[in-house]
Subunit: 227 residues, 2 copies
Amino acid sequence: MPEPASRRELNKAATRQAITAAALALLKGKGPGNFTVEDIADAAGISRRTFFNYFSSTEAALASVTHGFLDNALQQFRQRPADEPILESARAALMQLADPMTVAPLAELFTLTQGNAVLSRSELEAWDHCTEQIITAARERFAGTPGTEVDELYLRSLAGSVIACGKAAMDVWFVRCGADLSPGSLAVLRQLLIDSIGHLGSGFGSPATAPALNPGPATSTLLKERL
Amino acid sequence: MPEPASRRELNKAATRQAITAAALALLKGKGPGNFTVEDIADAAGISRRTFFNYFSSTEAALASVTHGFLDNALQQFRQRPADEPILESARAALMQLADPMTVAPLAELFTLTQGNAVLSRSELEAWDHCTEQIITAARERFAGTPGTEVDELYLRSLAGSVIACGKAAMDVWFVRCGADLSPGSLAVLRQLLIDSIGHLGSGFGSPATAPALNPGPATSTLLKERL
DNA sequence: CATAAAAGTACACTACGTGCAAATTTGCAC
DNA sequence: GTGCAAATTTGCACGTAGTGTACTTTTATG
């Protein structure tokens, strides 16, 4: 699909973009809960009704940021070689999240919604949606191996755990570095993602105490797949 | 706290119970989205305004079922011995969920809300809330070991993964057994919970194909803790 | 240019959630 | 049981959310 860029598609994409931009601007300017759908519509130059043609709620409009963010990782996961250990694929996909351009909007959104129950609810939904898609992707991958039936429990446990680890890494990163997008901060995020998947790969058998000044071994000894 | 049972407390608890019961009855009778807060209030014998004194929304009233369900497991987790391998504690806590009395309301709720986006959103929130509480509980446990600093990433990854595995087991169970609460069905759930935590404990290293007719080894070889 | 389809808009309507003040119930002392 | 203070319920009003519907504008196509 190189050129589905008809005028209509472009307009819709532009409108959609205008809405999320307006919503983010209002969130930054007035704080969560202090603006209405009508405010967003006015700022985006559309009618209130049209807003609802694009998003079912204010939170949905803001959650589109997270969706885009996670879709990015999912896309990475899908194009990993099928014979690669699945945790390695997950690690590679999550690593994509540490890209400045990618995390920037999410980091901003995260700092603005911290501590707001209503908004973080939509965030949860986005992560869950991503989990479902990973389950689908992983199922398709394993289905490629003929003669063996796919273990639904394995799939769902694995996908859920991977997402949980990614989320944990993001959470710890935000707490530790705030919205800092400097190379050093992103390196921290990358390491956190590696370590969380590492913990997962080692069955959480390592001690629960921080390696502190010795980040090396935690990442080097973990991803020893059994296949 | 053996007797905080003043008249006021009892009345409030009764009202709260009446609300959730009315909400569940309406959910069963009319289906999700086909009844209003006013309907619930009428059925519970209170005013619409009073409903909102107890719950912030219809979904919140229904999610209280899930909260009670998960609080049960959390309570189990808290009273496990502190020197026990943490995954074993998690397994024991999750095992509590396979009790007929405990799962019954959740199973009913689950079948009624299957495929309803609005309602499952509140369910997600409940699971996430439980995750946060497990993180707190686990942090307190590890903090008991002096001289060692607690690794936030380990904590959050672990708690998130455990919850994800519990959720995965429940999902698979519902798909496989529906709302069946027979001893056999509960045995299946118990085994699913054991297996999911087993996968987690072994770092998801076992092949992704179902053991099929050989359920034994999957559970016996997994929980080999490294401590 | 004609015309059909797609997208945006105006309007009306139900329901949600909350602040507020009046009314009712409960706990407690006398 | 009477009086009184605190807790709880209730009715009312208000702004906002979300949706159905019919109407207008924009875009694609011949």
